[in-house]
């Protein structure tokens, strides 16, 4: 019988991370870009918790780490949304391609 082990979690995490990175690069809507950023962080969380379960099941270090990652990600999104307000007021748009005053 097939058991779900560390490898499967790591593959899931790698796929999610890749999806997130791809989204950050290709998406044009800023909100979507930030959502993809969150997907990347959540991929890391999955990896951390899977490692924690299989490598250090007693100490819970990985799970604590994941909690901190979640909180920091929330703070980051809050600042991100605030910056998007300010961009929206200036540009009347949240399309990445329209932000071209500064060359990439």
């Amino acid at each position: 019988m097939l058991t779900v082990g560390l490898t499967h979690f790591l593959i899931l995490s790698a796929i999610l991370f890749a999806i997130g990175l791809f989204g950050v690069i290709t998406q044009r809507n800023v909100i979507k870009v930030i959502m993809c950023l969150e997907i990347m962080l959540n991929a890391v969380n999955i990896a951390l918790i899977a490692f924690s379960q299989s490598v250090a099941p007693v100490s819970l270090t990985g799970q604590i780490f994941a909690i901190f990652v979640m909180v920091v990600a929330a703070a980051e999104v809050a600042v991100g949304i605030a910056i998007i307000f300010s961009i929206y007021r200036n540009h009347e748009s949240i399309d990445m391609e329209k932000f071209n005053i500064l060359k990439w």
Partner: protein, 489 residues
């Protein structure tokens, strides 16, 4: 159990308290000029605490979360000095966002708290949280002007910074998965005990190492994570650009040096591997920075590329430092000395730029034409800093470069030093382009440019520091050598 070690993190706690006090006071008072005074007092109090605990033997606190050692304390003082100088230089600049002065100073101090924790963190969790504490404050500060350029710069910084920290975290997750620990010394013990002879035999360690270098590479602006630098430097408020270019970069080098030296320092094959990665990145970083800087016309953008190039020189020092592990050579103060000199020099240059551009409302180099006639002292100060950045006598820049390059040659990185010297020559061209505009150009108007007394004070402190480091470097070299001794070299 928490309370008995509380004095060791008193600097951070006091700075945090002052930041919160500023936020609260700002809500209830109308006399905003109190706020910078309070923030400078907060920084001085924190510095006093650091000096009080300076001579304690290195110790890991709170379940090996924070380490108190000369290396971290040196960086903390450097960060505090940079913060105070930036606050002084903001004296006139903050009038652009008069209503939000409280937030400005509070965020600046919170970012300093994050950076101070970052350089003394010895646990992956603390490193991540401290890094984000400083970064998130800086995201907000970069978009503080709320105009088109500034908010765009803030968004770019946020997105690229977010990606970089996700990459860093992924690397940390692999290191954690390999070793089952997040504290740096425990990881180091595990790594030393591994029965391998080559990095390719431990893919998890290789992925972790590369991703961590990439993640920190963003903070120190090394290639290929340098693309945010020019945009953010140009769009951000100039005071924050100054802060980003020195404090954030110094702390980034502090933490990357600590992680690489403690975790990946030994066995020998391991540090040879990462030192070579850093050396190659250093060569590319300084070349890219210098070549693109030549064509810039905006002074903030130019300094962005210049700071990329300087990061390249610092990485030469980092690579040499890595190769020194396990040998008897003593060359490693170079990176720290270079950071000290770079901090003073770049801050000095930026303070002059802040004072000038605040008056003439332009960041274009051609508007600096004939600045020597409009404000002799500001132009002179900026010129001294430019000389130091180019690495010419009698300034700190020369000594720092000699120190760092001789160390690298001793460790067999002669090819890298050749590239670095060629790069220094190229860089002299664009630094002197600014100096030439100021000394030989014809001014557009005869209107005088003046600065306020805090700006003069900050500029004077920087220029005196640059010259002192250049004339009597011996005084500071002992300090920098003591700082790196904790890595057992």
């Amino acid at each position: 159990m928490i309370m008995e070690h509380i004095q060791f993190i008193a600097p951070e706690i006091s700075l945090l308290c002052f930041a919160l006090l500023i936020v609260l006071l700002d809500l209830f008072i109308t006399q905003k000029r109190v706020l910078p005074v309070l923030s400078v007092i907060g920084a001085i109090v924190a510095a006093t605490f650091i000096i009080v605990i300076w001579n304690t033997p290195p110790v890991g606190l709170f379940d090996k979360m924070i380490s108190i050692d000369p290396f971290g304390l040196f960086f903390k003082l450097l960060i505090l000095a940079a913060t105070v100088l930036v606050i002084l230089a903001s004296h006139n600049y903050v009038l652009k966002f008069n209503k939000f002065q409280g937030e400005y100073y509070a965020l600046l101090m919170l970012s300093a708290v994050g950076l101070m924790l970052l350089v003394s963190a010895i646990n992956l969790i603390t490193i991540y949280v401290a890094l984000e504490l400083s970064s998130i404050s800086l995201y907000a500060l970069v978009s503080f002007l709320k105009d088109k350029k500034s908010s765009e710069a803030g968004l770019k910084y946020l997105i690229l910074g977010g990606v970089a920290s996700a990459i860093l975290l992924y690397g940390m997750a692999f290191i954690f998965g390999l070793t089952g620990n997040t504290c740096l010394t425990c990881i180091a013990e595990y790594v030393r005990g591994m029965p391998f002879k080559d990095l390719q035999e431990v893919p998890a360690l290789m992925i972790g190492l590369v991703l961590i270098i990439a993640g920190f590479g963003f903070k120190i602006a090394s290639v290929p994570f340098q693309m945010w630098v020019p945009d953010v430097y140009e769009g951000a408020p100039t005071t924050i650009t100054a802060y980003l270019s020195v404090a954030s970069k110094a702390a980034g080098f502090g933490v990357i040096a600590r992680v690489l030296m403690t975790v990946f320092g030994l066995p020998v094959w391991l540090h040879n591997d990462w030192a070579m990665i850093i050396a190659v990145l250093a060569a590319i970083t300084m070349t890219v920075g210098n070549l693109v800087a030549i064509v810039q016309t905006n002074i903030k953008r130019l300094f962005g590329y210049s700071s990329i190039a300087q990061a390249g020189y610092m990485m030469v020092g980092l690579a040499a430092m890595g190769l020194t592990m396990g040998t008897k050579e003593n060359v490693t103060g170079g990176l720290i000395f270079f950071l000290l000199s770079y901090t003073l020099t770049n801050l000095g240059a930026f303070i002059a730029i802040i004072a000038i551009s605040n008056k003439i409302n332009s960041d274009e180099i051609e508007d600096y034409n004939g600045m020597i006639k409009r404000s002799p002292l500001l132009a002179l100060g900026l010129t001294i800093c430019l000389i130091s950045l180019a690495g010419l006598p009698p300034t700190a820049g020369l000594i720092a470069k000699i120190y760092i390059f001789s160390g690298a040659v001793n460790m067999g990185l002669a090819w890298l030093v050749v590239i670095a010297v060629i790069n220094s020559v190229i860089s002299a061209y664009y630094y002197f382009k600014i100096a030439k505009a100021m000394w030989l150009g014809t001014p557009v108007t005869e209107e005088k440019v003046d600065a306020s007394w805090p700006e003069w004070l900050a500029l004077a402190a920087c220029v005196v520091g640059v010259l002192a480091l250049g004339v009597v470097p011996g005084l500071f070299m002992n300090l920098t050598t003591a700082a790196v001794r904790i890595f057992g070299i």
